[in-house]
Symmetry: D2
Subunit: 477 residues, 4 copies
Amino acid sequence: MLLREGRLGEISDDVLEFISSREADHRIFEADLLVDRAHLIMLREAGLISEEDASSIIQALDDIDENDLGPGEDVHEAIEAYLIAQVGEVGGRMHMGRSRNDEVATCIRLALRGEILDLMEEVLSLIETIWRRGAENRETLSPGFTHTQHAQPTTLAHHLIAHGDALARDLERLVDAYARLNKSPLGSAAFASTGFPIDRRRTCELLGFDGLIENSMDAVSTRDFILEALSALSIQMVTLSRLAEELILWSTTEFAYIEIDDLFASTSSIMPQKKNPDTAELVRAKAGSVLGSLAAALAICKALPLSYNRDLQEVTPHLWRALSWTRGSTRIMDGCMESVRFDVDRLEKSAGAGFSTATELADSLVRSTGIPFRKAHRIVGALAATGDLPGIEDLDRAGEPLGIRPSEMGFGERELEEALDPRRNVERRDQPGGPAPAETSRMLLVREEQLLQYRSRVGEMREKVERALLQLRGISS
Amino acid sequence: MLLREGRLGEISDDVLEFISSREADHRIFEADLLVDRAHLIMLREAGLISEEDASSIIQALDDIDENDLGPGEDVHEAIEAYLIAQVGEVGGRMHMGRSRNDEVATCIRLALRGEILDLMEEVLSLIETIWRRGAENRETLSPGFTHTQHAQPTTLAHHLIAHGDALARDLERLVDAYARLNKSPLGSAAFASTGFPIDRRRTCELLGFDGLIENSMDAVSTRDFILEALSALSIQMVTLSRLAEELILWSTTEFAYIEIDDLFASTSSIMPQKKNPDTAELVRAKAGSVLGSLAAALAICKALPLSYNRDLQEVTPHLWRALSWTRGSTRIMDGCMESVRFDVDRLEKSAGAGFSTATELADSLVRSTGIPFRKAHRIVGALAATGDLPGIEDLDRAGEPLGIRPSEMGFGERELEEALDPRRNVERRDQPGGPAPAETSRMLLVREEQLLQYRSRVGEMREKVERALLQLRGISS
Amino acid sequence: MLLREGRLGEISDDVLEFISSREADHRIFEADLLVDRAHLIMLREAGLISEEDASSIIQALDDIDENDLGPGEDVHEAIEAYLIAQVGEVGGRMHMGRSRNDEVATCIRLALRGEILDLMEEVLSLIETIWRRGAENRETLSPGFTHTQHAQPTTLAHHLIAHGDALARDLERLVDAYARLNKSPLGSAAFASTGFPIDRRRTCELLGFDGLIENSMDAVSTRDFILEALSALSIQMVTLSRLAEELILWSTTEFAYIEIDDLFASTSSIMPQKKNPDTAELVRAKAGSVLGSLAAALAICKALPLSYNRDLQEVTPHLWRALSWTRGSTRIMDGCMESVRFDVDRLEKSAGAGFSTATELADSLVRSTGIPFRKAHRIVGALAATGDLPGIEDLDRAGEPLGIRPSEMGFGERELEEALDPRRNVERRDQPGGPAPAETSRMLLVREEQLLQYRSRVGEMREKVERALLQLRGISS
Amino acid sequence: MLLREGRLGEISDDVLEFISSREADHRIFEADLLVDRAHLIMLREAGLISEEDASSIIQALDDIDENDLGPGEDVHEAIEAYLIAQVGEVGGRMHMGRSRNDEVATCIRLALRGEILDLMEEVLSLIETIWRRGAENRETLSPGFTHTQHAQPTTLAHHLIAHGDALARDLERLVDAYARLNKSPLGSAAFASTGFPIDRRRTCELLGFDGLIENSMDAVSTRDFILEALSALSIQMVTLSRLAEELILWSTTEFAYIEIDDLFASTSSIMPQKKNPDTAELVRAKAGSVLGSLAAALAICKALPLSYNRDLQEVTPHLWRALSWTRGSTRIMDGCMESVRFDVDRLEKSAGAGFSTATELADSLVRSTGIPFRKAHRIVGALAATGDLPGIEDLDRAGEPLGIRPSEMGFGERELEEALDPRRNVERRDQPGGPAPAETSRMLLVREEQLLQYRSRVGEMREKVERALLQLRGISS
């Protein structure tokens, strides 16, 4: 082990395995090469390393293959050992003016940034799919639920826009998290900065960061950007799990409002007739897994004194796992929603079942007769207890205890019929955010524009990063 | 029970206690009165309720006292029952065009908004205190730690700025969360909007919200704003717990770098000589409690189908508790940091102990002799194993196995002395973010400006809200 | 403040509020009086306090009312201050040979013990209810689910026994936790034991504990008994949440297999026809809350050095809240299950729907024709894709690609009919643990006996405790 | 894919990756072979499969290598496909009378059982190490802490026994969990039992289980045994994290009570003098990771309707990870504690520092003069404020405001000296559980016996299992 030589003796295999971060370091290998490269260019530009030394190291970096690395506590040490083996003692100059503490923090931010950009695009794709399915179903009546009970009729478009809107906020949280994470800790060294005249702003620029995590002690100590990313992922997974729950529920024999495409279903090893919503179940479950990653990361970071502690090494794998789970779930739900078949007939039939128009009936009574809402609610509630759709005489009878005869107060057969018609119900609800086809059409138009803006924003973020990295590779080779 | 009358029969006391939200509703009582008032004004302006009816209800709202409310599942029902008792049947008109589902979502957002504004000011005050203590200690040398081991000398200012910077990001997360939570769900009714021609934008404006949570199904279903607030609180509590840990550690007999003021310490019932850092211990612990609140809220929201489910009622108390814990911890840490006494002598003496200047020695060797960093590291590492500060002969002896005699390569007594002097160490580290007094002075100047901007931003947010509510009270009375 | 006088000065109100445990201490007030009493009797018996002094303090303890206590950081201090006010300086003798550290640990264990005993009885009552409903429904066919999809027919008894068995394991975990928590830390003093010749075994016996937490440092430091109790509660709440989920699911309009009694349902403020499963939803949600309590308690206890730290004060309220939630949920589910109405007709009709007899058909094919199971599975799988119940020709056609004609291999019309009959399906599954009425009858008989044993075990535990406390009150008055 | 053929079409790579459990299935591969073998023997004995068919499958099982398996959703399917490829159609007979649902539950229990047995031995070894280090240090005085502040002198043995006792309870929780997990679900099939005349008790016996999870729906639905194992691991990790925290704290330059062996320490990439307690930091961190696993598993299981759901697949990897972390941490702490060097001089010097004998002084005053404890506490508290060890005149002066002159009440120079001597302090505290060498010697003797009993108990558990498996391999080959 490169670093132990001077000070500590040999290490045993089981201790090495226990303290090693090599497995998780796979996720930052590419980032580490970029960080090395940027640091070298800066050292060269600052005259801290000679042209030749820099070139020979960079050339070795160009040729490195992850599989060639020897053992080591972490990838940083393994790369340095590899370089020394390749280019000789000179490889040891690369570590000047930095430490593993700032290096690893930089690598995590860099790799995370890439994953978040990918995730944002995947979320955008899912939102687009959901809203497109909404646009196809602006006229599709469907039962609306509270407490998983039929409540009032709505439209499928209304329901789908709700999921898309929740995801749009999830996306905005990722955007906000990105702004705080795309900052450079590089050059903070172990925590105390360095006496070498390095140029932190230059490495920041070379790596496409948006600015510095300035204070060098803060820069190596904080993992709040991981906690924030994990929070955003957890909340997004809650959104996805709610959608998944509905896919599971709606594809039961009893609900039967949808059919999940075969590609996203499984069968049973013993019950050949089964078609199970396995992908949706796994998305639902993974919301629990991501919650656990967040809880773990918070518990690990709690009460650590400044600055770097080895505990921080244990935080990162939770991040990578949570990212894989969230990104996989996002893509799977995109495919699910793209291909799910809605049973429009059954949905529309169900939309009016269960006296779900009762609210509208009460509202209509108020509007036509001027009685207070609570009285109307009580009359309709009494009717609901019977379970059947009421006739006008039922209504009068229900009003009797309160001294109210709707049929004599402007509420006749026609009013009753209209109130009980689910489609009329829905059309009337054209308030901002309501289910009426006119309103969902308006909302979808606005959201189309919103999607374009999101895409353009994410595109700019990615482009800035990619431009910097392209340039970085250009300078160094 | 007002609502059960029409449809369901009596309820037993234990069931009522189980399903009631009354205890937690105390936190939204004032918000509920404001929401009622705004809704009434809007109804009146829209011609949905007569001037007289509106006035009589508003007058009753003016006089309401929380203690006068009768029993009921929740505060909304209790207020409505109270109003009907006060002004008669007309009180029942207030519920027109809305439901408890949108009402409670609105109340939570409104009350949470106020708490977040207060918390932001408390965080700002704590940041200011920490940075002021930093400004007093720009020249104070102190040991810098990694792995809780002496690593390199630093300055107290450097260390304190790190904590302040972390808190500044915590503040920014609150600002971002605020932007998403200060939105109005009012008028979404049960989830399906309403057929009454209400005006959602008007109640939004009257209540000082920044916009609508537009889709009515989304508006009553989502508690992502609570999850986001809890995430921000959890991350902030991690920051505070790290500061608390250092207060506990630094006030041990062994460290003895600080003395916590008596006001924030406790003694023992049996050991009269004790002075215990109880407040810091409780802050540390409360980071765990807030983590638990977040985990609970995520687990509750996971996999709920749309729209409203009664599960959501169980989310809110976690929010109120976490807010109390976080706000209390923030204020307590402010007092602690304001009054803590630093033992400057001991800190400075300690700053150079433990051969903590070894890194600078290795760096100096590199700079003076041009040997690669890794070699220098190995030479100094060999010296460190002895534990004593090295003389120039020790250095030469340590270099022997590598064929290096520093004293003959431009690294003499004077270079050695300088490298081993903690103050010189620190002064050299004047890179952006470094501990040198010149650099911390610069950072503190920038941060003074930053504080002013934060204050002004939070001030504007508060002012907008207060102006709206003042106006709301003016219109209605 | 009694304790601060000698050493520390005044305390401000907000700091006192922050560090006070008084709100949660309500839960240990009665326990504290018992602990005081036992400690006093032991001191008197050991000759460490005079008869008269002991008597006067005990008399004051007899008369104490929680509302008479003055302010104070915690209830222990408040009681001591009260006693000194009542009986003079002599009240100060009570604290000899103990500390708040061992006192509070003893009080928590004592109060928790009582709650766990109550909870065990509540769980037993729920198990009994569930199994009784099972006994009523031994012949009731019902659909059995995997992945919330119809899988195979089963009986309601089979399904209900499953829930009861899970609860029986939850009960056993409580019993195991009880054995570890009913241990006495009293006499450990601050952590270092005491030089007074007290008698720890005597107070242990007086308070009905089953033994000592012997090592005095361990005794005041550990809260593992709280963590274990919270774990047991969390797992039990998972069991209850699964039952609650089924109540919610089965009472939807779509499933409609059950009707929850009005007492355990709520209606809507705006949708008068609604009957919502609110109690079940809250039970489901409270599983998340208890999970959060456990996560919080673990995070608080993590990484605390020995011995007592003030952080431990923050653990206990999580315990009390989780207990209230779990006990309330258990009682509510008992009432729900007692009163829920099963729609037997609908269940039986559903039991055979969805080609849920496919597995039995495949099994029968194997049994009658001797073909390997995987082949049979594939044939039946091909049939399932059509969705209809197959005739014998369909079967032959499906076997064709595999070269199999069941009708010519001993599998005729009669075999097919039997295989497709849900009741015959169920009757055949009379393996241990299976759904056949004969087997569920056997299981229920065994479980009746098991219930008696559980009750007798819990009864003995309670009796031992109550006998001790009765005696304790007898001696002291 | 074997199972999809009949019913569903092709699957895409990304969906397969998303739903596959293959990575985690590595942990149950060996268990699966055993389960297959036991099931086959039972089928053969029951006459459900011919001798030859059974033999040819068993022979193929003998030769199987994990690397030979083809793709597949899970290891069960991959093994079956492999067998069919090896022995032809006959391989498909193995799945008769069971399903993947009972198979996977059986495999997890079997693999977990083995890991728990290993862990119990590792915990026992750690306990033994800690107690042995205690036995070496019965006379070693050391400072005892509350609130991380010096409180009273104690002995190292006392402190170490506390950690060992906590671990002994952790062990007992594992034993209790083992009793509930070593039960056989095999033969429950998909959840509804089977119509084949299989013999569940026979496979139970063959696999060394202690009994059945009887109800077949419960058997495939529950993962409470995983939740319980994860709870036990979480609580044990809290214990280890507290020990780890003390290793970190005590090895700081400031405390310097111990030196961690080089093998368990690391150095810095930039600060060559550093010796960092990395292993202890990682153990501390892993307590957070295991907490996260538990939170995840609880959240996933919450609110799942019976019986099997695919969500359950997501639970198991959390178990395997948590086991690896806990077992690794246990072994590492064993090595750490074995090799850690205590600085006895420094510990003993520290034991009396900080007026930590104040409690004994107050107690002695009570014993010699008969004044109430609270008065003595106040007098000593006043002395403590000065910070110096008091003389007899200081004592009299401190007593003055209360009208007490100890020197005239039987408390002279000799009594004072004794009270202030840390060794005398400790020797006096010979109550059960106290730090006096006489008492710790007694405790250690008892614990030696206790260790033997634990070892014998765990040995029996392991032996029973191994005997069964040996026999199983004997029958089948």
